[in-house]
Symmetry: C3
Subunit: 402 residues, 3 copies
């Protein structure tokens, strides 16, 4: 990185970080709109507090696990006045950027376990995930830790390619969420003789969440280059076309249902992350369209057939579409299909499923330990009153409610 460009790269990565930070607002409002009204406040507080514990866990432990750097030197050294830190605090803004990625994992889980998780156990789980589990896998893929990427290159023909985190962030988040959802069990009254789907409280809030997520996602994907020298418009157009493909496929398959239409956009964006810098735009369009279909067809399957009460459908959305995205980079990234190459199908297949299995196993272990130590589920009475009153002593529209 040439010296004159340092300030520019600080600016570039900062904007990426701000955009991904805005996505967390998106997670919050998507959950607000999808849950029942008596759980809206809880959705909002969970997301912002999970974000906070994530930043702290990543600052004190996680970043060191992934990248081997700690921040316990003077501000002068952190600013790049000699030492291992890049000038103008570039390392610090990179931390900000990557911390917003890390914090996305608890935000994903939050949507799956909505309406019935106790507050503090869930905050502690977020801290452990972002402090230990996520950065362990992140470091393997993005920092070459433990030589596993070298092994992939030697044995499977190429390192595992996950440009912006279809697997590292989304599949890991989605499969961790699955383990959490299974451990918690379904919400009171969701299944059984008098059970049935709970309707979302507000489509406008759901849609606002989606818009914030989509807007921020262009920072998530494009700024993953982490330098202006490395930025490419290919990532931008591929993100756009995958999003559009997801919307369109979900609109048709989902019969114009607003939940499907808006989540279809997210499905396309989840799937395009991994290969967005190596696929042709038409490949991205195909990847996003398939992701939209995956979400629509798996959402009801999971909830109604498997009776897995994944409230926002985060396992299909992040878990399955993320998995698909990782594998798809090994298909549409190939030169034969108009891509830039440098990937193999086998490497993508093994890496993607490896991430999913890792997250599922780690999640089962983590939630088993936490639930052995404390109660992680709201009582039936607390669920009946709603997480808002039970946990936060206030509802979403206090003036009207009292």
């Amino acid at each position: 990185m040439g010296a004159p460009n340092v300030g520019l790269d600080v600016f570039f990565v900062l904007i990426g970080a701000i955009l991904v930070f805005a996505m967390h607002g998106g997670f919050a409002f998507l959950e607000v709109g999808t849950v029942r009204q008596k759980n809206q406040v809880n959705a909002l507080v969970k997301i912002i507090v999970d974000f906070s514990i994530s930043v702290l866990a990543y600052f004190f432990i996680g970043y060191w696990i992934a990248y081997g750097t700690t921040f316990f030197v003077s501000a002068a050294q952190l600013s790049g006045d000699g030492g291992v830190f890049a000038p103008q605090g570039f390392t610090l803004v990179k931390f900000f950027f990557l911390a917003t990625f890390a914090a996305a994992v608890p935000a994903i889980i939050s949507g799956g376990i909505a309406e019935r998780a106790r507050f503090w156990p869930q905050v502690v789980a977020a801290g452990l995930i972002v402090g230990l589990i996520y950065p362990f896998f992140e470091g393997i893929v993005w920092n070459g830790n433990y030589g596993i990427q070298d092994w992939f290159a030697r044995t499977l023909g190429a390192p595992f390619h996950d440009f912006a985190g279809s697997v590292v962030v989304h599949a890991v988040g989605g499969w961790l969420a699955l383990s959490a959802v299974l451990r918690l069990g379904p919400r009171l009254g969701r299944y059984g003789p008098n059970g049935g789907p709970f309707l979302p409280s507000s489509i406008p809030w759901l849609a606002l969440g989606t818009w914030l997520l989509c807007i921020g996602w262009f920072g998530f994907n494009v700024m993953s280059a982490q330098s202006v020298e490395g930025v490419t418009g290919l990532v931008a157009i591929n993100s756009l076309l995958a999003m559009v493909g997801g919307i369109f496929a979900a609109t048709i398959a989902g019969k114009r249902d607003p939940g499907f239409v808006h989540n279809g956009a997210l499905a396309g964006l989840v799937a395009v992350c991994a290969g967005s810098n190596i696929m042709h735009p038409l490949g991205a369009l195909a990847v996003g369209s398939v992701a939209g279909l995956i979400f629509v067809y798996c959402f009801h399957l999971v909830q109604e057939r498997f009776k897995v009460d994944d409230v926002l459908g985060v396992w299909p959305l992040h878990g399955l579409c993320g998995l698909w995205g990782g594998v798809a980079a090994g298909i549409f990234g190939l030169e034969a299909l108009g891509g830039l190459g440098g990937v193999t199908f086998l490497s993508q297949l093994v890496g993607s499923f490896g991430g999913a299995v890792f997250a599922l196993v780690a999640g089962f272990a983590l939630y088993a330990i936490i639930s052995a130590l404390t109660t992680i589920r709201l009582t039936d009475e607390e669920q009946l009153r709603g997480a808002d009153i039970s946990i936060h002593s206030i509802g979403a529209n206090p003036e009207r409610e009292f």
Copy 2:
């Protein structure tokens, strides 16, 4: 464009594209807040699906019509590895930027035809507009197609100047919308013996839409320079002062009505696009203030006197203020009035009215053809139940409604 700046320009235009993309969220929520509650979901789905079909139409046809470039080569070539494409995928991010402009045209129309348009015919119209009609005019003005700008320069003293699209985007969108509104007819019960204005469902959502539009608009205007070498703070301050002038004029003329106050901001921004890079800030303030007055005085005139059921007032807002903006660039852009010059009043007058007439004629033809082939209007019964239930089988607040 010097090589070291390519990555910087990719970054610059990307941010513009993201900001204009955010404006589409603004279009959605402005419509959500302005329509009746039983049509809120439809507003949301229309905007995001129209955006999607617009991107596809512009990718496959429209961009080629305007600029003569197609994207059907390998990703390596698209990334600028030889060939006609700029390095680091600059051409691709420029496509993203211009696609968000193109998609604004159906978003404008959507607000006019709200609450009574059938879904798919309206989506098809969006595709045809962005694939064929809009880029034909865009290419004439912004790419010099068919030598019409040369003819303007020779005959009227200067090429038609429309820096950020007061006419190309807004007037074209507004006059297309007028033709659509006239073809569709007024909403059930809007006029007649028991008719009367339908009140907006939610001022906060209306305001949120406006804020998103205003925030994104600075990208719409300033990033229209399309390179960091060409950027100028003049566009930024002029956009600011025109917006402020529109707000202030609409607040006074509109007697502090929140719909007028917020739309006044948009009126100022529509009008300033064309001349924002050549006017003095005081000129921009005047242009925006006049636009605010145009909106307030024409809104009721159109709806009550002419009985044209333009739900969000998009013809006054985009059609008339856009027209005014195009003409105003030929007044306040003159050096005699403190501007940078390079424009003539005559050229602006002819170009602006030319755009409006083109859009009106093209719109009449398009909607005549579509309505000859299929029904474009919801039945009375469907309107009574609301577009949400009729088209999307769900309302805006499903939990409360069932």
Copy 3:
């Protein structure tokens, strides 16, 4: 500033301006969610009209008071074609950036005086504050006017350091608000035999306001460098950690109340502004955590014990946390505490309290004059009907209400 970087700096400061502009949307929605429903429209209109009058007052007078520059020359000169203006209109985009700071002061006050202020007197007050009071102090601190910074450097060991305005913007805004709140008196029915706290209308809108404020705040802080050469990631990470500290402290001290959790984020960000470019991230975490506690403990104290009806708690939030931030820069900015140095505790103490006293005195004078000339308070009957109907002739949900 080297010539090749001018366009880049225009871009950089523009993004800062857009982000701080977005914060004004945040102020609007934070107030919408916190006031009673019958005052939501008034909150929205106040913020956007105050923003407008602020831009005009700062353009015509305020910027000249602070920086000695006026804009009454040709557009060519403004664009940097010779004269005192920087090339590519850099001076103009800097005006935009600083105008969004200036306009934050009335936005802060707005939250304190909510629900009972008459419209136009309050708009006039905003104009006078941004045209005269704020820029007088701003020029002293940020432009070295009247040699007061020199006196600080000579006498107190260092100039008063307020990088991004903990004192210049927030404490000044908060203490002006206190004077306004005291002059207006409490809302009808707030205290007395049947009085009691008025509950907020909507936590989701309150939260949305907070998210917009937090997102934009990274522009407020980081772009205060005003050039890419001067940008540092230290400001970014410090803002992040102070925000997170504020959230966490307020969550615990505030018992998971959503109002405290979200305002805790703002408290941390207010306090970190002054020293964000000189503190260690751990110092920023401490500063933000203390700010979160200040807000939680002072909010009820002010409202219940002192019976000061500061609706959004803007005096604790901006006044006290801003004061704390100014002083804290003289603690955690010291090299002994891992900071970059260049500050003294005494200088920060005197400067911070000086700002608070200046604002309080100026505010008492201003509101005394205005209330001598006109009525500034809504009548009891107007308050009963709500500011929305009384001032704007329409409520927040017109369709439902009629």
